[in-house]
């Protein structure tokens, strides 16, 4: 059988390559060099002494955290080209590429229509003015009426509904395996028995924070252990510890170079004005500013999102995303950005409750985006990708609430059309904030967005009786319009562990 040793060494070599030359690497090297002056380091046991020094001073733990982070990334075959690593299925790559082209075209035509360039250098007076009111950009009321969001979630849903595998035999339209939902791509999604095994920490007999608040707490923050923090987060984080725990799980420790990077980005915002900035303003005004929970953070949101749209380090994550970022040139300097859609600012808003220091807020948001949120608005076969989540939601509903699904389908209210907007935003803006943060605890704890699909199905299960009474899409939407009173964890627990199978 396959020699495990030979399987392991390319992985080790790959991780070493990735970490070599990183800031952590140079820090550890410097500390190792410094420690040579210390008397307890002996020449003949040099290797062991330096190693134990690094262990006791906490640097080994930091290295472990970095390696743990690297292991989360997908393994690759030496013959596989880079786009295959991003997304193995050719038809999905194609669909994502044509979606991006459409979005870019829309942006470009907006630019031409309104006569606003994609990017321009700000004149000195404007730069000074912006620098002065950096902390209160919300007070500005620019004329944004002519700007429209580039796309809304429902446009994206239409693209996903149209996704087809050219090698898939769809001739069995009505049969035992027929799928009543809108997603027609045969991805592998987990059913309830598999979910029960994977999410065993959520079982009805296990205490959860937020419901059973006397749950035993482990002091993982003292140990600074990323993997342990992730495990702890599965049962929910206590409010006081959440900010530190999330930062630890995301390995976002706000080093001086992170602060510097953020400051460089703010300088970039002041110097150049991007068309996308107006879209960000508009989005914040339309969504977060109108929300009872988040309007106080309006200024923070501008600061974070304007910097994010200029951050070329976000490019790195596109190696693992099938998307290729749109590019524009400002006086020879290349900037690549994510184009925000309607509701994008809601990814940042809940984080404002946890972090009040802009550079920390920024680095946590960026890490969350790179690991999770980008999968919610790009086409990929990843189990955490929006396509898989949609399919999983529909499958769970069809398998466990077939009468409800059939009824909704008959009245022209396909369940996904209602649930999609929740899932694309990971429920941000639909749940009350404390409940939302409990949900996001599990996203981090299980390193997967699957709980979002499970919650969507659980919400339908919860309101099933009312939904069976409705006779139109509009009234179905009305039944599911207000989720702000829902308690997330009991819903998920009951759906996963109390559903009869």
């Amino acid at each position: 059988m396959m020699d495990d040793g030979s399987e392991l060494s390319p992985t080790v070599a790959h991780i070493v390559r990735r970490l070599r030359g990183s800031h952590l690497h140079s820090q550890i090297e410097r500390r190792a060099k410094d420690c040579l002056h210390q008397p307890e380091i002996k020449l003949d046991s040099l290797k062991e002494d330096v190693r134990s020094f690094l262990k006791t001073s906490g640097w080994e733990r930091q290295l472990q955290n970095a390696v743990y982070r690297e292991l989360q990334l997908p393994p690759s075959h030496p013959a596989a080209p880079p786009e295959h690593l991003k997304e193995p299925l050719a038809y999905m790559r194609k669909a994502q590429a044509s979606w991006e082209k459409r979005v870019l075209k829309s942006l470009n035509s907006m630019s031409t229509e309104l006569g606003v360039p994609l990017a321009r250098m700000r004149p000195a007076a404007e730069q000074k003015e912006l620098a002065n009111k950096w902390n209160e950009m919300g007070t500005d009321e620019p004329d944004l009426t002519s700007f429209r969001p580039v796309y809304a979630p429902k446009d994206f849903l239409e693209v996903l509904i149209g996704l087809r595998n050219p090698n898939h035999d769809g001739s069995e339209a009505v049969g035992v395996r027929s799928h009543w939902g809108l997603i027609q791509v045969p991805l592998n999604v987990r059913d309830i028995p598999q979910l029960r095994r994977a999410y065993s920490e959520l079982s009805l007999t296990t205490g959860q924070l937020g419901i059973d608040d006397h749950a035993h707490i482990h002091p993982v923050i003292v140990e600074q252990d990323s993997a342990a923090a992730q495990q702890y987060s599965r049962q929910g984080c206590s409010t006081g510890l959440r900010a530190d725990l999330w930062a630890l799980i995301l390995n976002s420790n706000n080093q001086p170079q992170d602060v510097m990077h953020y400051e460089q980005l703010t300088a970039g915002v002041i110097q150049h004005d991007l068309l996308v900035d107006n879209l960000i303003y508009k989005d914040v005004k339309l969504t977060a500013s109108n929300d009872d929970y988040y309007f106080v953070f309006e200024d923070f949101l501008y600061q974070v999102l304007l910097c994010f749209s200029r951050d070329t380090a976000v490019l790195e994550h596109f190696k693992y995303n099938s998307a290729t970022p749109p590019r524009s040139f400002i006086q020879g300097e290349r900037m690549s950005r994510v184009i925000p859609f309607h509701g994008f600012s809601m990814y940042v808003a809940p984080l404002c409750f946890l972090y009040n220091e802009p550079s920390k807020l920024y680095s946590v948001f960026r890490e969350m985006y790179i690991r999770y949120f980008f999968r919610l608005h790009s086409i990929s076969s990843s189990p955490s990708g929006i396509v898989s989540l949609c399919l999983q939601f529909e499958r769970l509903l069809q398998t466990h609430l077939p009468q409800l699904f059939y009824h909704l389908r008959q009245i022209g209210a396909q369940p996904l059309r209602i649930a999609f907007k929740w899932m694309v935003r990971a429920f941000s803006g639909y749940l009350s904030t404390d409940q939302l943060l409990l949900l996001w605890d599990r996203i981090l704890g299980y390193d997967s967005l699957e709980v979002v699909a499970v919650l969507a199905a659980a919400v339908f299960a919860f309101r099933a009786e009312n939904l069976m009474e409705v006779t139109s899409l509009g009234s179905a939407e009305a039944v599911l319009a207000d989720l702000s009173t829902l308690k997330v964890m009991p819903l998920i627990q009951v759906f996963l562990f109390a559903t009869a199978i």
Binding site: M1, M2, D3, S6, P10, K42, L43, D44, H77, P78, A79, A80, H84, P88, L89, A90, N165, N167, H168, D169, E172, V185, P186, L187, N188, S381
Partner: protein, 216 residues
């Protein structure tokens, strides 16, 4: 391991043969089994290190080898090197359907030496797919590692610079450096082997002056 510098063997891959059930009169149905023959260069049997390929919706692959042992006059024999290796977690769903894979020598149940032909038997039991196959099939030969040869090659590549610098009354740098190295090694040894015992024999009546050594 198929390193970057190992070239695949040039082989000819025959078109895949899809086995059909039933006959052409009653209507042949696809059986979900396909055979791909890979012929290696005639008269040059290969010791296989690794077979790599790109999957296209194949669920399981069986590898059979036609081996001819050298020296033996008998005909070459077919044997199964690997049976039903799963390429897709679930034959009905996408996972693994377009992945790049390797079958390594160590995974095979027989020694893949003196191979003249390779037969890949593909299976895809699910009716969800219109077709299935393997692409970009490459066979990498086993290369004996020869470390000594490699090192000497490397050494001979070095151009020895044998210049004698112009010394004017200065000692030969080679001898100076070797004696310094000896002294340094001695100090290292001394540092690690320090004792508190006094060096008694050089102490004459409490005095350390070597000129006053007693000769008794």
């Amino acid at each position: 391991m198929s390193g970057e510098d190992v070239q695949p063997v040039s082989c000819s891959i025959k078109p895949p043969v899809y086995l059909q059930m039933g006959d052409s009169e009653t209507g042949a149905a696809p059986s979900g089994v396909c055979v791909v023959d890979v012929a290696l260069p005639f008269g040059k049997p290969v010791n296989i290190q690794e077979i790599t390929f790109k999957n296209y919706y194949t669920a399981y692959v069986t590898v059979r080898l036609l081996r001819k042992s050298p020296g033996q006059e008998g005909p070459a024999k077919w044997c199964t090197a690997l049976r039903d290796l799963p390429l897709m977690d679930n034959p009905h769903t996408e996972a693994g359907s377009q992945d790049y894979c390797s079958v390594h020598r160590a995974q095979m149940q027989v020694e893949p030496d003196h191979v003249t032909s390779v037969r890949l038997i593909l299976r895809q039991p699910s009716s969800a797919w219109l077709t299935f196959s393997l692409e970009e099939v490459n066979i990498f030969p086993h290369v004996e590692p020869n470390p000594e040869k490699e090192v000497s090659d490397w050494l001979s590549d070095l151009t020895l610079v044998d210049q004698h610098p112009d010394l004017e009354g200065l000692p030969d740098p080679q001898t100076v450096s070797s004696s310094i190295q000896q002294m340094w090694a001695l100090t290292e040894v001394m540092q690690t082997n320090q004792t508190t015992a006094s060096i008694g024999r050089y102490d004459v009546d409490g005095c350390y002056d070597i000129n006053l050594l007693s000769l008794t």
